[in-house]
């Protein structure tokens, strides 16, 4: 088989040996083609440099490799935990270019703006900036704003924030053969075929709302003038310590901020018994009105199908070659015990069995309309035709 004009493939591996896992998944994704770019999603449990070496071995010296560590991987073959999922694309119809930048605490926007330079000089009819960022900087909005402010507003943004299973200590980004920490990696993708993006979640508000009366960055100290941890424990009818409450992801607390067309969601994943405070990975502005969000399984599965359907619908009637998926770790926690398979099945159906690969992240990036580009608890899909 010769190299088609545009192609997209996915591969997954659960092999314990990191090099073999990387090589195996990459080989499956590339097939017989010549890859221009590979998107690698893997658990921090892997020996990451070895894993990238395996990928490079199959991809050849010229392919761009980008990606991030995850809170679980997903692909056409199913969802994995501690595995690796890879998407590859190639053909003359695609142009790719990459940039990486380290995040400075004082100016996180600058890193976003520099990663956005990946689009520099591209003149393809359809373009998108795909970003993989450190997930624990506490300032995800600023990073995305930095990228948005640096590109033409007609170009969409997608991507995800890296995770580290459920350790919340350090995440990594992949930039060719390097494993970076505290960085933003951008891949500018140009195509002569259409590009579609879908965004959906599946959560709804529980009344009554609360006002964030004291917060700083991603830390919430008070809700309605009361210690935030106390409020969450009470609203959940839970008697115990913060650690018990947030143990094993069963008690991820999605908070929804009131927005013009729905909610902007923050996932709260930890708390402090001393300070009675709680926090997540993105800032919650003081003065904001927030709702505790609840999701039932069906609503989340419907959200997955909707995200895929929306992305495909924007391909001007062409069938999708394949899809990159940025799914929230919070959704994963809500879908555990059988729900993950259902989600994968819902995506397969909505995509008419087109291949897809992606990862469970600490926050999703999607900007098509409007200026806001950071999301949580969503499934963002990027469909390529």
């Amino acid at each position: 088989m010769s190299n088609p004009h545009r192609w997209f493939g996915v591969g997954q591996s659960a092999a314990a040996d990191s090099r073999k896992a990387g090589a195996g998944a990459a080989a499956e994704a590339i097939g017989l083609g010549e890859a221009k770019a590979l998107f690698v999603f893997a658990s921090v449990a892997h020996d990451l440099p070895a894993l990238l070496a395996g990928v490079r071995m199959e991809a050849g010296p010229d392919a761009e490799i980008v990606g991030a560590t995850s809170m679980g991987e997903l692909g056409s073959a199913g969802a994995t935990d501690g595995g690796v999922a890879i998407a590859a694309l190639g053909g003359d119809g695609f142009t790719v270019q990459t940039r990486a930048a380290l995040i400075s605490k004082a100016d996180p926007r600058d890193a976003g703006a520099r990663a956005a330079q990946a689009l520099h000089g591209l003149d393809d009819e359809h373009q998108v900036l795909i970003m993989f960022s450190e997930g624990l900087s506490g300032q995800p909005h600023e990073i995305v704003r930095g990228a948005y402010s640096a590109i033409d507003p007609g170009i969409p943004l997608v991507g995800g924030f890296a995770a580290d299973d459920r350790h919340f200590s350090e995440t990594f980004q992949f930039y060719n053969d390097e494993v970076l920490a505290g960085a933003v990696v951008g891949l500018g993708l140009g195509s002569d075929g259409p590009i579609g993006i879908g965004v959906a979640h599946g959560w709804r508000r529980t009344e009554p709302p609360m006002v964030v009366t004291k917060s700083s960055g991603p830390h919430i100290y008070e809700l309605d003038g009361e210690p935030a941890l106390d409020v969450l424990l009470r609203r959940n009818d839970f008697d115990g310590s913060a650690e018990e409450f947030f143990d094993r992801g069963r008690q991820l607390q999605p908070l929804g901020l009131s927005r013009r067309s729905g909610e902007d969601i923050r996932v709260i994943h930890a708390g402090d018994d001393e300070a009675r405070s709680v926090w997540g990975t993105a800032d919650v502005p003081q003065g904001a009105l927030v709702w505790l969000m609840e999701g039932d399984r069906q609503a989340m599965l419907d959200g997955a199908a909707w995200s895929c359907t929306e992305a495909v619908a924007r391909l001007d009637g062409l069938p999708p070659l394949g899809v990159l998926a940025f799914d929230c770790g919070g959704r994963r926690a809500g879908l555990i015990e059988g729900g993950l398979d259902q989600e994968i099945q819902a995506m397969r159906t909505a995509l008419s069995d087109a291949p897809f690969a992606g990862f469970y992240s600490l926050g999703e990036i999607a900007r098509v309309r409007g200026a806001l580009g950071t999301h949580h608890l969503t499934l963002v899909t990027l469909a390529l035709a």
Binding site: R145, Y148, S149, I151, D152, P153, G154, P208, P209, V211, T213, D224, L257, S258, R259, R260, S261, P285, Q286, G287, A288, L289, R369, G370, A371, L372
Partner: protein, 735 residues
Amino acid sequence: MPNWSTHLLTEYFTAVNAAEHEETAIASAVERATEMVEAEAGAVVRDGRVIGAYGFGSVVPEIALGEAAAGQPMIEIPYVGELHVASNPLGGETGDALIVARQAEPFDPEERQMLQGMGQVLGLALRSIRVLAAERHLRAEKERQATSAQTRQRLVESLLTIQRAISARRPLPEILDAVTCGAADLLGGAKVTLMLAEGGPDQRLTAASTCGDGDSPPDSLAQAAMAGGAVLVRPSEQGWMIAAPVRVTGEMAGSLCALLASTGGQQTEQRDQLSAFAQQVSLALTDARTVEAVREAHHDPITGLPNRALFLKILNRVLASRGTMADPTSVLFIDLDRFKAVNDSLGHDAGDQLLALVARRLRGCVRASDTTARLGGDEFAALLHDLPVEAAQFVGERIVAAIKEPFRVAGREVFVGASVGVAVSREARQNSEELLHNADVAMYRAKKDGLGRVLVYEPYMHAEALDRLSLRGDLQRALREGEFRLQYQPLIRLADGRATGVEALIRWHSPTRGFVSPVDFIPKAEEFGLIADIGQWVLETGALQVTKWRRDFPDLTLNVNVSGHQLVHPRFADNVMRALAIAGLPSSAVTLELTESVLVSEPDLGRSALGVLRKLGVQLSIDDFGTGYSSLAYLRELPVDELKVDRAFIARAELTGEDLALVRTIVELAQILGLRVVAEGIENAAQLAALRKLGCGLGQGYHLCRPIDPEHVAVRLAATQGESPVGVLDHRSTA
């Protein structure tokens, strides 16, 4: 759906005010405003320059943004297309503006209102930062810098408190008070008043909330701010006056006014602060109106039952879905008996509590699949599916029995009852309103036949209902065409037989109904909401008449009866004073008579109006004293001047020792409290003698003088002057 824009404004406030430099404040404001309205791009135009452009890509369209600030509604962005623009002034005299541009759709009024607020807040923050920056170089002014920063912090805190109150749906008056007090506090103890336009064509202004001491702002100031749609600053005698307009869903609704003792050249800052508070009022009122509309549209808040509108909707649906005419649908109209008495004597809270308990019992009387509703007041309805008329009647009986059992309200047992009308749909195409109306008619008839009955609607009942309807029309016409007239009954000083005053008594001779007793039409006038107009007519007419008589009898006073419905009217005190002013009658010559039940049931509202009137010199009398819930406590608290002993105590031809003991107690009580006592219903010489002996000061009754037409009054009054044979006024003139 709660108002998302209200929620966002506070986040924006916090973010913008956290900035220490102009650039960060602008960048923060632009980005948040852009994201919040889901716009693609935003910028600030300041002093003719574009600052903080966001989302325009590499080439910022400076000229187009300048035009947008000047009012151009669209802007072209390369590779994106034409975007809708909202340009929001930063306040001050310049053309500075916060601009956002959106591709998908134009900005709706609510969004524009929020963006206007955002522009104001940014302007305020920028000026504040500029002041701070300038002062940073001046050591001498260091203290002031701290104050200004503190003021900014206090502004944010104050607005957060208000925001929280809005979000938590606190009662509207509480929110409005928080606004005026927050503003007054921030403006260094200025008097701040929120003037809101009443409905109606003349758009009169009333003070909805006030904080601080001193004079009230002139109406003209608020009106000017509303007319101009912009914040106004004017010099006043003491210092400065500022007024900021308040809008509800974009329409002008009033004005937030502040009177400042002096400003020391800070008008701009204070004007902006007041404007920010006015914006909060706008949002609170808009939010309240939305919530109210949604809630009112469906459920009654007291009982949680569907309201009339929802009930009719359900009824419509049931009627429309009926398979055949053989499925009868019954509607019960349930009206409580004696509810008003409970409400009047125990107060509204107890009344509401009772309604909620009644609702619970009602639900217990019907099947789960049936619908119960509160139509309003003490009226309820039930919709019964597939029940033949006999069964519906039986349900009605069950309801009557259930409501007859005592209720436990406000710590005591309360007895009410219910009358029920039943209507069954017989026609294939029955109108829901008509069915409910028929049940209402049957209920009315049931009530007339004696309380606690259940009656099924029959067509003949309709004619009777029409009569009731026409009474409303007749009363309106009577007022319009001048069918009412007044008679006057003198109040006689028992010691010397002189008339000290007259009580005005309304009479109605209807051209179609003949003479109608006030006992019959006054409650109806109250029910129909006509009592305020009728009461005002009595007051105006009586005042004019007594003013005339006072030329010959200079000390003559006027007593007028006042209904509880008048008392709670927000302009009651004003109306009384207006009537007296027009007639030229001094307020000290007028005594308003109120029944005990009114005073007890409207303690707060009534008291404030009475307090105002009492301060203005009007006297107050308690009518029918001793019949109600005579409480010594309220006698001491209320500004009362006179007690009228009810005729029931004096009614016996020969007063018993017990009667006399009661009257004596009242007379002595009055003496202790320094009140006048009037004995009502004196009908013979023996009663008169007994009352004189007890030391009762004044009396009324047929034995002294019947109510008489105005043309005879002067003669009677003259007759009481000079010689003083008590009882000579026994004239069988008119009835």
